[in-house]
Each structure stands twice: as C-alpha cells, then as structure tokens.
Amino acid sequence: MKSLEELKAIREKAMKKLNVRTAGEEEIKILVGMGTCGISAGARETLTAMVEEINNRNLQNVVISQVGCLGNCFGEPIVQVNIPNQKSILYGKVTPAKGKKIIEKHILNGEILEDLIIGEAFH
C-alpha cells in the first residue's frame, strides 16, 4: 500500500457492493411488489432493471427491496417509492424502462411521474 489514495480507491469500489448491506433507516426505499401477479406481469425484470440503474448511477442512499403483493393486482408491476418525510407514491404498470425513468425523474430530480400513479400507498 503506497498511499491513502490507493486505499480509498479500493474502498470506493468495495463500498458499492456493500451498499445493499449497510442500508439504514434514513435511506430512500423503493419497494417492488413481487406477488404471483407481479411476477407474471414482469416485476422481476423491472426490479432487475432498477437495481442496475441504481448501480450505474452509483446512488448510495437508495435501497430497493421486494415485497409481497401490494393488493393492486390490476396495475402490476407495482413500485412504491418511500422518500423519508414525504408522502409515499405508488406507481403502476411499471415496465423496466419506466422503472429507470422513476429513478431518473423522481429519485434524482424530485419530479413525480403523475401519469404512472395508480393510487394511495398506505405505509
């Protein structure tokens, strides 16, 4: 080890991998509904695409988590966005492309995608 910079370079690379593990309370949470209906409507592809997008953009404060059926089976795949101290937003019919858009617009710029909203999130 020659310098602190060399150590920090290793750290940056390794931190990216550990981000999922060190998730805390204060982070932005994205929930993807993975009930049977969600899966058959393509939720897994949406989830994978969104995970990829988060990794590509190197977002440290966002965690993505899968949950069971959110109850709005007509609108699958469903994605809920929980930003601390803000109202939760529930998006429906989220294709992989739309999922990436949610990250780009809502998470990064705070623009809510009104036409994708399907209803009220409860928590």
Binding site: M1, K2, S3, L4, L7, K8, I10, R11, K13, A14, M15, K16, K17, L18, V20, R21, T22, A23, E25, K29, V32, G33, M34, G35, T36, I39, L47, T48, V51, E52, N55, V63, I64, S65, Q66, V67, G68
Partner: protein, 548 residues
C-alpha cells in the same frame, strides 16, 4: 461486477458453524442456482451476530429481516418465499420471549435495541475472509491516517484522551500503557495481542477474531507505530481453530496488499505479525506468563516489576493488549477521542462486550455502553430469566469475579462499580443464576477450575486454592462445620494477599463474595446439612425446603 439486490448474511461463527451453518450456505447457493437467482442474491458468511441462543442466524439485507434457528432444509423455503415472492418466512422469525410476538426486523429486537456495537461493529456485517469488505467499512483508514499525518506521541495522546481501558480484565488505561512502552528506548520492541481468552463462558475475543480479524491487525500496526515496535505477536489458544484460520487468511491478505510488511503507506514504518499458539492455560492470560510462553518457556508469571513495558519479550520493552481493546482502536482514531469518551461513565469510557450465559433467555454476546444497568442487560437484552424463575445472582468476571445479587442490579456497571460490590469486570463473562442454583456448588466449580489452572509457582495459590476446594467439597458432601466457613474467609484473604499474580490474587473471590451475600445458604449446608437448591448430592437425602 455483480449487482446483487439481496444479501443474505449467514452467521459463520463457531457457535453457528457447529450447527451446520456451512451446510446452510451451500444449500442456499444450490437452491438459488436452481431457480436462476444466483446473480441477484449473494450469500455471505459473516462473523458472529452475538445472538447465539438462536443460531444459525440469517439476516437478509436491505430488508433487515432476521431469521433464527435456520436449518439447511429451510433454504428452499427461504428462496421460494423471500427471494422469489418477497414474503417473510413467518415461522423462522424470532419470537420475543417477553412480549410473545414475532419480530421481523433486527432493529426491533430487544436483544439489539440497547446495544452499542463498537468492538463488534463488523461482526455479522462483513465477510471476515475478504479484506476488501473490511476496507469498504473504513478498514485500514485509521492506520493510513496515523502513518501519514500523526507522530507516535500524538497517537498515544489521542488514545489517552479517549479514556480507553484494557478490556482483558485489569482495566489499565491503554494509552498510558503505550506511553510507558514508548518511553523505554530500545532498538527492538514488541506489541503483543493477548488472545488467550480463558474465562469459562467468555468468547468475545474469539468472536472478534473470527468475525473481524483485520480490525485487530490494523490496531496492532497502529500500536506498533505508537510504541516503536515493528513486530507483533498474537498469542492465541490452539483451541480456537476457526479464529486461527481466519487470522492466517487476514494476515496473508494484508501482506499481499502491503498493509503489513515494509514501508507501509510509503513511510519508513515496517510492521509484521506472527501467531503464537498457546495450549490454553488460564494463567497465560497474565502478561508475564504469556510472554514466557511466547518465548517457549513454561507459562508461569514473573514478579513485577520489571513490567513488560521495561523488559518484556526477550527482555525488550513490550506492550500486551487484549483483543477487544485492539478492536476499539480504529474507530477511536477515525471518530476521535471525544466521540469515544462521550460514551460510558466518568472513569470507564466506551462499551464493553459481555458474554451472557446461564439461566437467561437470550444467551449470547452483547455490547453495551459502560454504565448500563445489569437489570437492563438481563431483563431487556437477555429477555429475562428462563422459565420465569426467580433470579438469584449474576456472576461476573469469571473465576476472578464475584456474585451480584438482585438488590444490586440497578447499579450502573463499570470497572469501579463492579469492584465496589466485590466483583469485577474481568473479561466480561456474565452468568445468570436462578433459584435452582446452589451458590456453594458454584464456588466449588470455580475453585476446581482455579486449582487446576494454578501454575504452581507460588505456594499460596498452589496449595491455598487446593485447600479451599477441599473445604468446599467437604461442605457440599454434608461434612462441613461452621468453623469451615471462617476458615474459608481466613484462607481466602491470605491467598489474595500473598499470591504472585492476578490468578491467585483473585481466585478466592467467588467463595468470598458468595459467602458474603449467601451466608444463610452456606449455614444451611453446614448446620442443617441441607442444600436449599437441591443440587449438592451429598445432602440429597434431605428434602429441599419448600419455596414460598
């Protein structure tokens, strides 16, 4: 790089490994592979979570879901339900013994709520066999900062200011110990890590070495720089094969990255570490005995002075620190001494890891701020006494410590308060006893241990402890007299006053403290020939007294 969305942290400590956590890891990987989720989910074997009562443990992140008592056969269900469908596997969740309800998340478990994890910060979080994961959580950053921006004396002042005291038992201020070794000029000095954890029931040092070996290596290098040593030894008992295995991996990884070796961080500082195996003698936890053993001699203590700081290993200035003490060093450097001294009590700073054992619901390793009440540890973190029985006493400090009774449970515990009530911190063993435990028998157990572990060098310890044990055996066989109780006190005080090292100076403590707090029970044994707890077989012809 793989973009795993889920991390499954499986406990790989000795406790969980002995319950097939290795097979569980394999099973999870097999099932994940079968369903095609290998790229989305990563299974990581971590160090100990401390919740040994309910092992093997899996924590799923980022969901913070905590599964307990997971068997290899549960792997299929976890993947099918949790990974594929996002549903929790209800029956593997932890059931709070007090509130009688299932708890999903680790943050909500009362076992973890009151804990502050500094020494155990990475146990259960990182893969101990992967140096990059340690670096990801700021590993070796403290060493880098120290070597590139601080003088040895600045490091010593910082550790002194933090108020850190030795976690192995004595509670000697760590920074001061470093300073003493620093002041003794010599061309060769040594830093030694005492990993000869000998208290029955204590396993915090083992868990740190198994779960976060790099933190100890890093701290030893920092200490080496501070005192002027280029060589470190870890004295570890051969009974800790997994800790040894992981230390060896850690040392070779650190060497590979140039974090051990020559010219660290392009400075003039060289440092390397070697392991020395001990045969597991209790007395080798005493620093002069430990040094003798490292040199290849008999593990017997020397009279002090000279202290190791003046003349230690191979008659060179040496500094011996305990594993848990070392584990505290990197965070102290990174977060500053004020952060550390802000935790704890006036004279005992930071946290202490306790090995909670005995008749308590949640057996395991807990790390709490100094000054936490014993009642909180037992009733909140520990989930109370098993089977709703009444608490009789808590034994702290192992064979050198004493018993604490119900009345003293609200005393904030630190080095000094424990001493003031006739016990001691020791290395942090904490054994909970209920009304079915016989205090005379407990003392006998500890004396049996010290009698066996006495190295035999000095007479009071070698013969005195044997006599103490004989008297206790006599009492538990129903042949004791009231005079025997006086004899225990006289002899105990004599051993404490005249023994050579810490072993003999503290070995009568279990007898003396139980005699003080439970004299009635001793009297019952010698006068009425009755063991109220119904434990002592020699007295079993009498019926136990009915409890109200």
């Amino acid at each position: 790089m793989k973009n795993s969305r889920l991390h499954m942290l499986v406990c790989g400590g000795t406790g969980c490994e002995s319950q097939d956590s290795n097979k569980l890891v394999n099973a999870l990987n097999l099932v994940l592979d079968k369903y095609g989720y290998k790229d989305e989910v990563e299974v990581i074997k971590t160090g100990c979570f401390g919740f040994c009562e309910k092992g093997p443990i899996i924590k799923v992140q980022p969901d913070d879901i905590f599964y307990v008592e997971v068997k290899p056969k549960d792997a299929k269900r976890i993947v099918e339900e949790h990974v594929i469908k996002g549903r929790k596997v209800e029956d593997l969740l932890y059931n709070e013994p007090v509130k009688k309800e299932k708890v999903e998340r680790q943050h909500d478990m009362s076992f973890y709520k009151k804990q502050v994890r500094i020494a155990l910060r990475n146990c259960g979080l990182i893969n101990p066999e992967n140096i990059e994961e340690y670096i990801a959580v700021d590993g070796y950053l403290a060493l880098g900062n120290v070597l590139t921006t601080m003088t040895p004396m600045e490091v010593i002042e910082l550790v002194k200011e933090s108020g850190l005291r030795g976690r192995g038992g004595g509670g000697f201020p760590t920074g001061y110990k470093w300073e003493l070794t620093y002041q003794n000029k010599n061309d060769l000095k040594f830093i030694i890590c005492n990993a000869d954890e000998g208290d029955p029931g204590a396993f915090m040092d083992r868990s740190i070495l198994e779960g976060d070996p790099h933190s100890v290596l890093e701290a030893m290098a920092i200490a080496g720089y501070a005192i002027g040593a280029e060589k470190g030894y870890i004295y570890i008992r051969a009974e800790y094969p997994l800790a040894i295995h992981r230390l060896n991996i850690a040392i070779s990884q650190a060497r590979e990255l140039g974090l051990l070796g020559t010219r660290l961080f392009d400075t003039d500082f060289n440092f390397d570490i070697e392991l020395k195996y001990g045969a597991g003698a209790f007395v080798c936890g005493e620093e002069t005995a430990l040094i003798n053993s490292v040199e290849g001699g008999r593990g017997e203590p020397n009279a002090k002075p000279p202290f190791p700081a003046e003349s230690g290993l191979w008659n060179r200035p040496s500094c011996v620190n305990n594993v848990e003490t070392f584990a505290n060093i990197p965070p102290i450097i990174l977060k500053g001494p004020k952060w550390f001294s802000g935790i704890g009590t006036e004279k005992s700073k930071g946290t202490k890891v306790f090995a909670l054992a005995g008749k308590v619901n949640n057996v395991g390793l807990v790390e709490v701020p100094m000054g936490t009440k014993l009642r909180d540890i037992i009733y909140e973190i520990g989930g109370g006494v098993r089977d709703n029985l009444k608490l009789k006493a808590v034994q702290t400090g192992g064979p050198s410590g004493g018993c604490i009774t119900e009345e003293e449970l609200d005393i904030p515990i630190d080095y000094d308060s424990l001493k003031s009530i006739g016990s001691m911190m020791g290395s942090g063993g904490m054994i909970v006893m209920d009304e079915k435990d016989c205090m005379v028998n407990i003392s006998k157990f500890y004396l049996e241990f010290t009698e066996e572990e006495s190295c035999g060098k000095c007479t009071p310890c070698r013969i005195g402890n044997k006599r103490l044990h004989e008297i206790l055996t006599k009492i538990t066989n129903g042949e004791g007299t009231e005079e025997d109780l006086e004899r225990l006190v006289t002899l105990g005080d004599m051993i404490k006053d005249s023994s050579l090292c810490g072993l003999g100076q503290t070995s009568p403590n279990p007898v003396l403290s139980t005699l003080k707090h439970f004299r009635e029970e001793y009297l019952e044994h010698v006068v009425n020939k009755n063991c109220p707890a119904g434990v002592c077989k020699g007295l079993s012809k009498k019926k136990p007294v009915n409890k109200q």
